[in-house]
Symmetry: C2
Subunit: 344 residues, 2 copies
Amino acid sequence: MAQAQPRVGRWPRPAANRLLYIEVALPLPEKELISKLRHQSAGKPRLGSVRIGIGDDCAVLRIPAGHEALVTTDFSLEGIHFRRDWDAPEVIGHRCLTRGLSDIAAMGGEPIAAWLSLALPLSVSQKWVDGFMRGLLRLARRFGVQLAGGDTAEALRDIAADIVVLGSVPQGKAVLRSGARPGDRIYVTGALGGSAAAIASLLHSGALARPADYPQHFRPLPRVEVGKRLRGIASAMIDVSDGMSTDLAHLCEESRVGAEINAESIPRARVGRTRREVLREAALHGGDDYELLFTAAKGKRVPFQMAGIPVTEIGEITRKGKIMLMGDGLARELKPLGWEHFTR
Amino acid sequence: MAQAQPRVGRWPRPAANRLLYIEVALPLPEKELISKLRHQSAGKPRLGSVRIGIGDDCAVLRIPAGHEALVTTDFSLEGIHFRRDWDAPEVIGHRCLTRGLSDIAAMGGEPIAAWLSLALPLSVSQKWVDGFMRGLLRLARRFGVQLAGGDTAEALRDIAADIVVLGSVPQGKAVLRSGARPGDRIYVTGALGGSAAAIASLLHSGALARPADYPQHFRPLPRVEVGKRLRGIASAMIDVSDGMSTDLAHLCEESRVGAEINAESIPRARVGRTRREVLREAALHGGDDYELLFTAAKGKRVPFQMAGIPVTEIGEITRKGKIMLMGDGLARELKPLGWEHFTR
């Protein structure tokens, strides 16, 4: 009850000049917000391993015997990763957690719990926060992931979310970026470029795209089940978050190998009302698809479809450090032109 | 080599209008920054449990057999938790990690690894980032904690850091907030109010305080060793981060008990050139001290000093839900007047 009234912080930390803000839509006081999240997140975790969730200094959880822990953290920042005028809060919350789950999938892991750090300017409405949490928690439930904690804070101007996902994988079975060997075949799940096409459409027309036309942008689904089945099959794996050309470069660098990609075989997403194929450039360099890019030894049987998701062979690992794009009778270097922060 | 030149993100996410910024001091491109962090963080983890650190989709680590995992996340936001004109970057980095380590200490845990998510506006110099990392990594080394990953991103305007710390504790031995029982004695480590006094001094004079005068503000040390020794002694524990009155209220709420605090016995920090005691109000409500507040059963022997840190008895847990401050022959309710976000 005492928490229901806004209170004055008597010993302010070096704080915002709050007069800068239009305080029409104050989010709930922190304790109430946490209490609400705690109530919403009281789901049954799949592995029954979160012993203490929201409400203590740390979450306490058990990693299944014979398993290793996987940990990943990903920002979702307003103006950088999302725009409030482009996407509904549910979509932003959904994508926020997708980023973390996709990293767990890329190791062949099973997600267990998530932590959300959420900084909100005072001008953000509780309705927006509720929508964001609805999108995030719906995806969490779908993957049996418990929201086990996090942090809330006031932000000066822009919304900042940081998602942490902890998962597990049987000891020594994590699929690393560094395991690709010359001769290995390169595969990708699903189709690429759908999210980039949505953003290109938004940038071009300024209008909100119909979610049904761009499912990869509005509701990307992390390939957790495919990732798990690829343990023992994939020699190396990464998720396509920055763009295929950039993520393949990461994988090749960690494995100290090169690659040849067949331009024709790259699966391109179909978008818009007419289900047109995206441009090849979007499939090569577009980010935020959350598909899996992996390699497997030449002789290894890789299904054409896994957990209902198509799997396509797109090239081969080479000894040389370069990544070449083959097609139209030409071989040219494929430069990593996906997303990198702090570059222009 | 290819990463040394800034590159153009060809498929931009909804991004900043970068023309707003004076781009005189571009941080390193993301890959270079990560590479630099990876090099800097190549420390020896105490428990040898981080198998894969920076450079893959997730970190992979082992939790010691018979132990549970502890996870905590804490924001450090520019304008909210720190100001660049008040503190050197080393101090901001140091405090950023302290927040996470202190939560591990408050569970009686042993920290293992940390993940740093760091969003930087383009106007932040690499020198600032280096200083921040120096402060953070020096503290990490001191506590045998490995920087095992994180995320880097461009921020529109303000620096945002989110620290995740993972630790471990023998199964079932975590000291929770919820274990306090009527009759238990209440204790606090060290002295309180030193950080609040530094901020009050800064707000009052506008001048930078001498770090040596306010060690609790400039170089707070998380009470990890004390926390570990309190396993089996403390019935409940929390760290003093929001302010004693607020953190005690959290502990009492989770334990469904009340408390009586003896105003006279609260250890007050000594600050400034003259080592004067801080005001009682600063000790009661001031945040960011990172001391431990804990309870222990009446008969339990609690040392006056643990790992070189004084331990002071300050009150008793009661059955009633209120927290009372006793002193000067009066009993009055102690309202939680520490820091809470989203309140005025």
